[in-house]
């Protein structure tokens, strides 16, 4: 319960940081609108600022935003003049599907290869796997996306295009899995490295030697005895992974032209659409902090040695 309170407090602090940061921006939306027009009538400008609530002191603007946020009213988008919630809500499932698939990809590739790399430490296979994972971490996510597009052009002559209503389950899966693989590959590289180092720690423990001396088969030792304990630190990292994944999603959605939440953040930033930007960033913060909270709880449940004082 104490940790839950701390989480709420953290989110509250984040909201202040986001709000202050966005108020640093030179020039507000009214300036930008008038920049395009060329001629500025001060009365018109003042009217628009009053409409948007920009004439009020900053603390008042903040309180208005937060109280709206708590009651589900996210304000109006400057750009589309529609309620922000209507713009954001339909994009969430798209990004959620993409993130879910990417995480599956990352775990299915990263964990088994991490185990192999650790078991075969310092062999040629280990070196190859480490170099591949390091390459994955070194490539910018958007470049990987572009390369995949290029591969599609070379082999199929077309680019996988996002559609709102894909026909059938398999088409939908295919449509999402290509960009998900682009994001997931980088995350799998991170997971591979973590699983490897965590496995190496565990494999040196006494109980592994005991298992080996009683004649347990290698597969059982590696995947049953060792992996179970090696995965504990890996689980905690999934929280960090969520943040890492989001960074990848921002550019991958841009490259593949997928209308998800992550790409929308970049668009809103370009339009200087404050209500959108602050709501989107707040949304991201809530997701990341909640995942971290859940992972913390999960960790305590998985490892009986850890107990959070309540």
């Amino acid at each position: 319960m104490r940790r839950f309170g701390l989480m709420v407090l953290t989110l509250f602090g984040i909201s202040i940081i986001i709000f202050m940061l966005l108020r640093l921006t030179p020039g507000n939306i009214a300036d930008i609108l008038f920049d395009a027009g060329g001629f500025v009538d001060p009365a018109d400008k003042a009217r628009i600022e009053a409409d948007l609530g920009l004439d009020k002191p900053i603390p008042v603007q903040y309180v208005k935003w937060i109280s709206g946020l708590l009651s589900g009213d996210l304000g109006i988008s400057y750009q589309t003049e529609r309620p922000a919630i209507q713009e954001i809500a339909p994009r969430i499932p798209i990004t959620a599907r993409l993130a879910g698939l990417a995480l599956c990809f990352a775990v299915l590739i990263g964990v088994p290869f991490g185990v192999i790399s650790a078991v075969k430490q310092n062999t040629r296979l280990d070196y190859i796997l480490r170099v591949i994972s390091l390459t994955g971490l070194s490539m910018p996510a958007f470049w990987l996306g572009l390369l995949i597009l290029m591969g599609f052009v070379a082999y199929f002559g077309t680019i996988p295009i996002y559609s709102d209503a894909p026909t059938g389950f398999w088409n939908a899966l295919l449509m999402y899995s290509v960009p998900a693989a682009a994001v997931g590959f980088r995350s799998s590289a991170l997971l591979l490295r973590l699983t490897r180092s965590s496995m190496l720690d565990v494999l040196r423990q006494d109980y592994i030697r005991t298992a080996r001396s009683k004649g347990a088969p290698e597969v059982v030792i590696n995947y049953y005895h060792a992996l179970k304990n090696a995965l504990l630190p890996v689980v905690t990292v999934i929280g960090i992974e969520a943040a890492f994944l989001l960074g990848g999603l921002i550019v991958t959605e841009t490259v593949f032209n997928i209308p998800g939440v992550a790409r929308f953040l970049v668009e809103a930033v370009r339009w200087r659409d404050y209500p959108m930007v602050q709501n989107l960033v707040m949304f991201i913060a809530i997701v990341v902090v909640s995942i971290n909270f859940i992972v913390d709880m999960l960790y305590a449940a998985l490892d009986p040695r850890i107990k959070y004082s309540d």
Binding site: S138, M150, V251, L265, R270, V289
Partner: protein, 297 residues
Amino acid sequence: MSTLDFNAELAAAGANVKSRWGAVRFFIRRYPLGAAGAVIIGIFLFAAAFAPFLTVYDPLSTNAAASLARPSATHWLGCDFMGRDVWARIMYGARISLEVSLGAMLLGSGIGVTVGLLSGYLLGWFDLITQRILEMMQALPLLVLAIIMAAALGPSLHNTIIAIAIPLVPYVARVIRSSTLSLREQPFVEAAKAIGMPETRIAIRHVLPNTLSPLIVLATAQLGSAILVEATLSFLGLGVPEPHPSWGRMLSESAAEYVRTAPWLVIFPGLAISFVVFGTNLLGDALRDLLDPRQRS
């Protein structure tokens, strides 16, 4: 007291440190991948320093006749839409990449070290408040924080450096804080106190030098992530503005149009980014193995 001493670390790992070359040879033999990383970073620094001597073209001058020219003997890596030579832009782009990443790393580490040292040394309310603020900053993905910083500050070379540096601060500050916490209990710090040395002097002369080895490992890793974040910001159009040749902006969204028609515009700048970041990752891993004895096998 033990300050950071590469020779001592190398000697502990079994190197002949009598001669400087002995230590270098040992590093190469023991950490071949790390040495490869150092070579890659060397090439990167060389390209940044000698860009004008490595190409006959001006990275900014346009040439309509060479628009989207294929890679050839005259234009090694081809030309972009405006007829600008890609090889020249990559060489000069190394300067931008180096300037931004090194600037961001130094600024971020500078602030991070100061905050971490103060936090670990003063403790009390200062520590409590800064730790909470750092936690909040870390709750946002690095890239998201950099994006809003970049948006808030507006596009310029210096603002890009700041936008990348600030999100790096919490990572440095936390590492420095935790090593400061353990160092302040060490006998040599108590000894310094006992002979009446002022606290600030102890912090700077005795505690700070001992936090260097985790800092070096972290800084190498951050150089790589700063390069990646700069490339990403520029790719999204929020980073280094025209006319600076930035690797990330060479790949900006319009690059997707060229996937079909001019793949060299997509392949080479991305290779440059990946190559350099790969180098920093290799070197960072080797340095961590060397400087963190617990990882030594």
